[in-house]
Symmetry: C2
Subunit: 464 residues, 2 copies
């Protein structure tokens, strides 16, 4: 099914809109205002005239128009009736933020879940949730999150899964640190109706989505999931973190959203077979997303590495070998060019320790002179620029990245930061991101991402 | 040998002290001033009267007293003569900051190295370097770093290795983010004289050092290294990251500091046999240091986990199974106590998803009510408190940690942050650290550290 209405509706009603700051029903309206959603917003509250300056209606029936979608944030017992009101008014889509349904496992919750499902079916409605933290679209500026969010930067990555993390803490991180830009976020919640098959199929066709990231505990229909996954993965990179790989994890999964998780090993095999990329854990998911968000995919497996420290060179070579990348010799003309401005005694090889050049030229000048030359080397398919943040090494990297990309537009560029404080890490990451380079905080992570990108390129070549 | 003079000298001369801000010879003096080193500082510069207000001497001979140690930051050709001057004046110890010796591999560098070594031997001098970024001691406030540094927080962790990262970017990170506190840092550089055997032996006996972290590319005398490592590891946790595990990494190692690395697998076996803890990579080294810095070691392998999200519960259970920890049932009395202030339908089990309690009590109150009860549960040997940082979940965690530690002083406590911005991550990390809890930014990392701490506890029990 199309999830168009969940990301780009013309109008939205918020059932359970609240005048009380901090309440879910207030935050939903607040986010729509703050993100600048240009469509019509109808807060529904029987006792309020205005919420955040927006004309508020006592019921859906009194709205001047039929909203394309409703967001429901009333107590759980009132959710079935809210759905029925929406259905009677002709609304086709709903996000149910309220929790306390199949996620509880109790009889009351399960019964409410059944009533919501029946109501929706009787009106031909489709809904996300219950227990959905919400959706975000950085292009249409539509948001249904019940968590007050900074606006994440726009970009190619779309995220979905039953967890609410994507539209809460992760959005905040994305907004403040900008490791990559975001197209759409969908927190599916209990998946009582719309599930990962719908989300994946929709994002596979979504022109704004270049990379898909997913946290998954299980799939309700394995055969159909596989079919949709194959289609999605042939269109764009799909990175999936499977939760519930342990026996206890599987029990926790069953309780958390009322689905049953399949056997972990089977699941990972299915992912690879479909052409998707399994992530090891949460950090690995974001490592991979950061890499793939800053394509292009490398045309070969040969990495050029520039580091400010000898240890960085050693650890990069170690990690490259572990992940199947090669750190080849630089071509003689590259070495000749770097020699021109480096001390005669400096060993010039890949991985390249540029400390001695830095002592001669200063940090920024040394990177500006060396990195484009290495990037342009025909022996190199991708470039890793590692540095250590301390007083005297911190500079605005955006013109450096621009220069590298000018001479090697078809090679991925990753920067790696070691040490330094949070603010300087953030500033570098944002500058690199906006100029088209991924930033990692460890060499093995950068190499892990680039190696996965090389695998994806090989898969693409084979399937052509 | 004792490295006492490298961390706690009464007086220091800086040969090559510079009036030019940003030069190594200026930064060394600046750091001594900024860190508040209380001993005598003698900048040596033939052309300056004062540097940063400190009386400067044209040569070592004109110093009013013999300094206990000299720091040498002159061009490489002048280093042998500086060493000879120091030797003639009766100085016994030197840190040589200048690079361009065995690290270059060129004949000039190797010849200079030989001359420095012979000069030192003829005067009975011991020296760190060449190519040493320096030492830091947070107790004596002595610092020889050639990188302008913030002051790292004082604490139990001592770091050493040939890399300069420890006294540059890492110090800056430690100072600004405070994942743990530091006792001593030594960047050994080329190890032409003082090597890892000296550093490890000294730190093994150092009362201020509770945990040792080391980056190592190779050992010059394997037998002696093993002997000292056994002694150190029986006294305190010793965590070692071995660089140069790949073939290319080994070549890079050979070039970087002129030593030869042993076979990686042999090396790791040696580490384990000696009772040391091998780290997988740079991030893993700091993950382990963060855990061990916030003992106590757990008395068993049973982890209590509290999370704000269902996904956190699932991923924690997965990681625990991978790393050999158990996530046991909570005792009935614990569940009864938590039930008192939680919704009747909320599933209460370990890992514990406290979102429904948060909805009732607010985040801070929910954690304050739940976490001490779980920590005190006799079924639990360690506690992991996971949260997600977004608007409405951010609070000062120090009183929470204090409360947990009051009821369970013998159990390690780890907090885990997912999402959020850099500043709020920093603020939480510092607050938790000061109250005695480690902070990680992923559940698998927290569990990795706690599992390693449990292994260390078992080893200690067996060796008793």
């Amino acid at each position: 099914m199309s999830l168009h209405a969940f990301f780009a509706p013309r109008s939205v009603a918020v059932i359970g809109a609240s005048t009380v700051p901090g309440k879910s029903g207030h935050i939903i309206v607040e986010n729509l205002v703050n993100l600048g959603f240009p469509g019509a917003v109808y807060p529904i509250n029987p006792k309020a005239d205005r919420i955040l300056g927006i004309r508020t209606y006592p019921s859906l029936d009194e709205c001047p128009a039929v909203p394309e979608i409703v967001v429901i944030a009333v107590p759980r017992d009132a959710v079935p009736e809210s759905m029925a009101q929406a259905g009677r008014r002709g609304v086709r889509y709903a996000v149910i933020a309220t929790a306390g349904f199949a996620d509880t496992g109790d009889d009351v919750g399960l019964d409410l879940d059944r009533r919501v499902h029946e109501t929706a079916a009787s009106f031909g409605m489709r809904y996300m949730g219950p227990n959905s933290i919400g959706t975000i679209d950085t292009t249409t500026r539509f948001i249904t999150s019940i968590v007050r969010n900074h606006t994440p930067p726009a970009g190619p990555v779309s995220l979905f899964g039953q967890t609410g993390l994507f539209a809460s803490g992760i959005t905040r991180w994305l907004a403040q640190s900008e490791p990559f830009g975001v197209a759409k976020i969908a927190c599916l919640g209990n998946k009582s109706d719309i599930g990962e098959i719908d989300a994946l199929g929709f994002l596979a066709d979504d022109a704004r989505t270049g990379v898909i990231g997913c946290y998954l505990e299980g799939a309700s229909d394995g055969r159909e999931f596989f079919r949709v996954l194959c289609r999605a993965a042939s269109a764009k990179p799909v990175i999936i973190l499977k939760g519930g790989t342990s026996s206890l994890g599987s029990i926790a999964t069953a309780s958390h959203t009322g689905t049953l998780a399949g056997d972990a090993a089977v699941f990972r095999g299915v992912l690879r077979q479909a052409g998707a990329i399994p992530a090891e854990d949460w950090e690995d998911l974001f490592t991979l997303l950061t890499g793939f968000a800053h394509g292009p995919l490398p045309a070969g497996n040969r990495a050029g590495v520039i580091s400010i420290t000898g240890a960085g060179c050693v650890l990069a070579a170690d990690a490259a070998e572990r992940h199947g990348l090669v750190v080849p010799d630089l071509s003689p003309s590259t070495i000749d060019r770097i020699r021109e401005f480096s001390p005669s005694w400096a060993p010039l090889r890949n991985p390249l320790d540029i400390w001695s050049t830095i002592e001669r030229l200063g940090v920024e000048e040394a990177y500006h002179r060396v990195a484009p030359v290495v990037a342009a080397d025909p022996n190199i398919d991708m470039l890793i620029v590692a540095t250590t943040l301390f007083d005297g090494t911190i500079f605005d990297c955006s013109s450096l990245i621009d220069k590298i990309r000018d001479v090697a537009p078809h090679k991925p560029v990753a920067t790696v930061l070691i040490g330094g404080g949070p603010d300087e890490n953030r500033a570098w990451t944002i500058a690199a991101h906006r100029s088209g380079a991924a930033t990692f905080h460890s060499l093995p992570r950068a190499i892990r991402a680039l190696a996965a990108m090389r695998d994806a390129a090989l898969r693409n070549e084979r399937s052509r």
